[in-house]
Amino acid sequence: MEMTRRDMLAFASALAAVGLIGIKPAEASTELLEEAINKFAGGMPESGGVSITAPEIAENGNTVPVEVEAPGATDILILADGNPNPDVATMHFGKLAAEQRGATRIRLAKTQNVVAVAKMQDGTYRMAKREVKVTIGGCGG
């Protein structure tokens, strides 16, 4: 069956009517992400020295387990480039911290990159990036 333009439009509006086509949510631009990194690190840090553990595919974007680690860091900034605002959290490690490692659960509005920027003891900065795919469930319930 060939679809005419009119059929396509009708099909699209039918899909929209049952809510299968969402309205694109606001998202943090690359600009906002870079601004946040700049503010924290005063420039674009080199990659490496930071690790991000997160699921490759998250079943629900409301609660995504994320762990960051950067041996020798004093602080780790966590950002997400596809959320309305890129800020997620900044972890600070005190004298008694056994490792410069912290885990939390975060909200991801859609498939996007999680970015971690670490401030090291010597005042330098390191960075890592990891993509997390967020699936859109079939059943909202």
Partner: protein, 280 residues
């Protein structure tokens, strides 16, 4: 987090899933107790082999339920325990005043719900039983079905049966309700014209968009759903399903949902109670 990686490795060396489960080899162990997530129910059950919704979830969702600290539902369980010990209503009594230690008095209750109530002469859910006791014994106002208090109490009471096999009765006076629930299960509803069976009996293990269809088991309720960022009742889930097929849901606590709850509980007979479970 380390456990999650270990589980992933276990799952990947497991057998390829026959019905499209996330990882059939995964075992649900909570606080040292293994909970049965697969049950060979035989010919009597239209599913034959029954699987808990836990088996359909991704590893990172599964592990949230394997540690009572990481399970966010336990915040509600603790609130339920507080409520259990709090005096309420004109009687000045708490649940504990009459029922004592819940780990003894409430043990096994979740597994046999919904249950016939002789005095009221009707089939009653756990929520109904709680509200009946609040009114009759405590002289207190009934809680709203989906209130935090009701969810906390059903979570706390449900936990006392964790690991016990679901075992609802469909005999005697329950039989009529069972038939009604079964009718509802196979009746197509809503603009999408789908019955429960179309997804949860004919297509479990398949993907509906990016979501993995389960058998629609209710052995872990109330459930902490990541989507809700909170807990919800069995009837809330029914209501959500009916909205998804663009239908008009029955009311929570209605005869229709109570009948459907009995029918679904029976389909899951033999699975371990998982309350409070965690799902996506």
């Amino acid at each position: 987090m380390k456990k999650w990686i270990a589980l992933g490795v276990m799952a990947s060396i497991g057998m390829a899933a026959s019905v499209g489960l996330a990882d059939e080899s995964a075992t649900l162990t909570v606080e040292g107790q293994t909970i049965k997530t697969k049950h060979e129910a035989g010919d009597e059950n239209p599913l034959g082999t029954v699987y808990s919704g836990w088996t359909f979830r991704s590893t990172e969702t599964q592990v949230l339920q394997m540690d009572d600290f990481e399970n966010p539902g336990f915040v509600m369980v603790e609130y339920g325990q507080e409520l259990w010990e709090t005096a309420e209503g004109s009687s000045g009594k708490s649940c504990a005043s009459c029922h004592g230690d819940a780990s003894e008095s409430m043990k096994g209750l979740r597994a046999v719900m919904p249950k016939w109530h002789e005095e009221k002469d009707t089939l009653m859910t756990l929520e109904d039983h709680i509200n009946w006791s609040r009114q009759e014994h405590q002289g207190a106002e009934p809680w709203k079905w989906e209130s935090q208090e009701m969810l906390a109490m059903t979570a706390f009471i449900g936990l006392q049966s964790r690991g016990m096999p679901m075992n609802v009765s469909i005999d005697g006076k329950n039989a009529e309700w069972f038939e009604k629930g079964k009718d509802l299960y196979y009746t197509r509803v809503g603009q999408l014209d789908l019955a429960c069976a179309n997804c949860h009996e004919d297509n479990y293990g398949n993907m509906i968009r990016a979501d993995h269809l389960s058998q629609g088991m209710i052995n872990g309720f109330p459930v902490y759903r990541l989507k809700w960022s909170g807990m919800g009742s069995i009837h809330r889930r029914f209501s959500g399903c009916m909205k998804q097929v663009r239908g008009t849901p029955y009311k929570r606590g209605s005869d229709e949902f109570t009948a459907l709850e009995l029918y679904l509980a029976w389909r899951g007979n033999g699975l371990g109670v998982e309350t409070p479970s965690v799902r996506n």
